[in-house]
C-alpha cells in the first residue's frame, strides 16, 4: 500500500483525494467480501440467482396476499401441465413491446393498461368465466401479472392463477416460447 501511495502525486487536491480514496475502497471491499463470504461463494455458481428468484417470488406472493386473498399462484411444472393439456388460457400482462420480444407460445398479449382502460373487451376474449386463466409478466419483482389477476377476479373470473416466475422462468425452463421479432417459434 505504501508503494501504491507513493505512485500518486499528493500535491494536487485530486492526488490527495485519490490517495485517501484507494485504501478506503480496498478496506470496504475486504470487509464486504469477508463478512458475506457465503453469498459471494454462491455468486460463482448459480446459487445466488436461484436464491434471489426464490426471495422475489416469496415477496410477490406476500404482496399479492395484501392486494387480494383470492389471487392464487401456480408453479412452473403445474402451468406446463395445463399448457400441454390445453386446459388453460395464458395471458401476457406485459407491454406489447415486451410481448413482441418473446412470450409463452399460444399466450394472448393483453397489457394490464389496456385491460384496466377497457381498450380490450376481455369478456369477448374469454367469455367463459370458469375458464382456467394463467397470467404472467416478467418474473422477479414484476407485479402486473398479479394486478391483472386481481382485475380478472374482480370481473367474475373464478379460476385465475399467477405464474410468478413469469416469462423468464418459463423460457429458462426450456418450455415453448414464441418470438415475433426474429419470426421464430420454439
Amino acid at each position: 500500500m505504501q508503494k501504491l501511495s507513493g505512485l500518486i502525486p499528493e500535491k494536487t487536491p485530486f492526488g490527495l483525494a485519490l490517495k485517501q480514496c484507494l485504501p478506503l475502497v480496498l478496506l470496504a471491499c475486504l470487509l464486504g467480501w469477508t463478512l458475506n463470504y457465503p453469498l459471494l461463494k454462491e455468486s460463482f455458481g448459480s446459487g445466488l440467482r436461484i436464491e434471489i428468484q426464490k426471495k422475489q417470488l416469496a415477496d410477490l406472493k406476500a404482496k399479492a396476499e395484501q392486494i387480494s386473498p383470492d389471487i392464487r399462484f401456480i408453479d412452473l411444472v403445474s402451468a406446463k401441465k395445463l399448457f400441454d393439456e390445453r386446459q388453460a388460457i395464458f395471458l401476457d400482462a406485459r407491454s406489447p413491446k415486451e410481448n413482441a420480444e418473446g412470450s409463452i407460445s399460444g399466450s394472448i398479449g393483453i397489457s394490464l393498461m389496456s385491460l384496466v382502460k377497457r381498450e380490450v373487451d376481455i369478456e369477448k376474449v374469454v367469455p367463459d368465466r370458469s375458464a382456467i386463466i394463467v397470467t404472467y409478466c416478467s418474473g422477479g419483482e414484476c407485479d402486473v401479472g398479479v394486478e391483472m389477476a386481481k382485475e380478472l377476479v374482480n370481473r367474475g373470473y373464478v379460476n385465475v392463477f399467477v405464474l410468478g416466475e413469469g416469462y423468464p422462468g418459463w423460457s429458462d425452463a426450456g418450455y415453448p416460447v414464441f418470438k415475433r421479432k426474429g419470426g421464430t417459434a420454439s
Binding site: Q20, L24, C29, L31, N36, F44, I52, K55, E141
Partner: protein, 152 residues
C-alpha cells in the same frame, strides 16, 4: 462565491451527504440479499459479479459516509462517493432508456423506481460530493470537536 467558502455550509453539506450514505450503506449491509436482488434486476452484470459488487458497494457507501460525517479523510470519501454516484447515474440512464421498470435499490426501505426522480436525486448528491471535493477546506469537523480541537 463567498458562500461557497462558508465553513458552516461546507459542514452542513458534509453532514447531510455523509449521513445519507451511511444510512444507505448500513441499510444494504443488513439486508445483503435484497441489494443483490436489486443489482440482479438491472440485468447489466453476469451472475458471477453480482455477489462481489453487491457486497462491496454498501461498505464503500457506509465507510465513505462515515468519513464525511466525521471529517476524516474527507476528500477520499467524497471522491469515492462521486465515483459511485457517476456509475449509479449512468446505470439509471441506461436502464431508463431500456424501459426497465424496477426498484432502483438506492435506499433500503424506500420505494423508488428507476426514472427521472432517482436520476435527479443522484445528480443533486453528485453536486454535493463535487462541492466537497472542490471547495471544502474541512475546517469544522465533528471529529475535531470530539477530540477538542478544530482542524486548520
Amino acid at each position: 462565491m463567498k458562500l461557497l467558502h462558508n465553513e458552516y455550509l461546507q459542514l452542513s453539506i458534509r453532514l447531510i451527504l455523509g449521513g445519507l450514505f451511511l444510512y444507505a450503506g448500513v441499510g444494504k449491509i443488513t439486508t445483503p440479499l435484497d441489494f443483490a436482488a436489486s443489482v440482479y434486476n438491472y440485468k447489466l452484470l453476469p451472475d458471477e459479479l453480482i455477489g462481489p459488487v453487491a457486497t462491496a458497494i454498501p461498505w464503500i457507501e457506509a465507510l465513505s459516509g462515515f468519513c464525511l460525517l466525521m471529517g476524516l479523510h474527507t476528500k477520499g470519501g467524497a471522491l469515492a462517493i462521486s465515483g459511485l454516484l457517476a456509475v449509479f447515474i449512468a446505470i439509471l440512464i441506461i436502464s431508463a432508456a431500456r424501459g426497465l421498470d424496477v426498484e432502483c435499490g438506492c435506499f433500503s426501505g424506500v420505494e423508488r423506481r428507476v426514472g427521472f426522480l432517482a436520476i435527479f436525486e443522484d445528480l443533486v448528491m453528485l453536486a454535493g460530493a463535487l462541492f466537497i471535493l472542490s471547495f471544502d477546506r474541512v475546517k469544522l469537523t465533528p471529529y475535531a470537536f470530539l477530540i477538542g480541537r478544530n482542524k486548520s
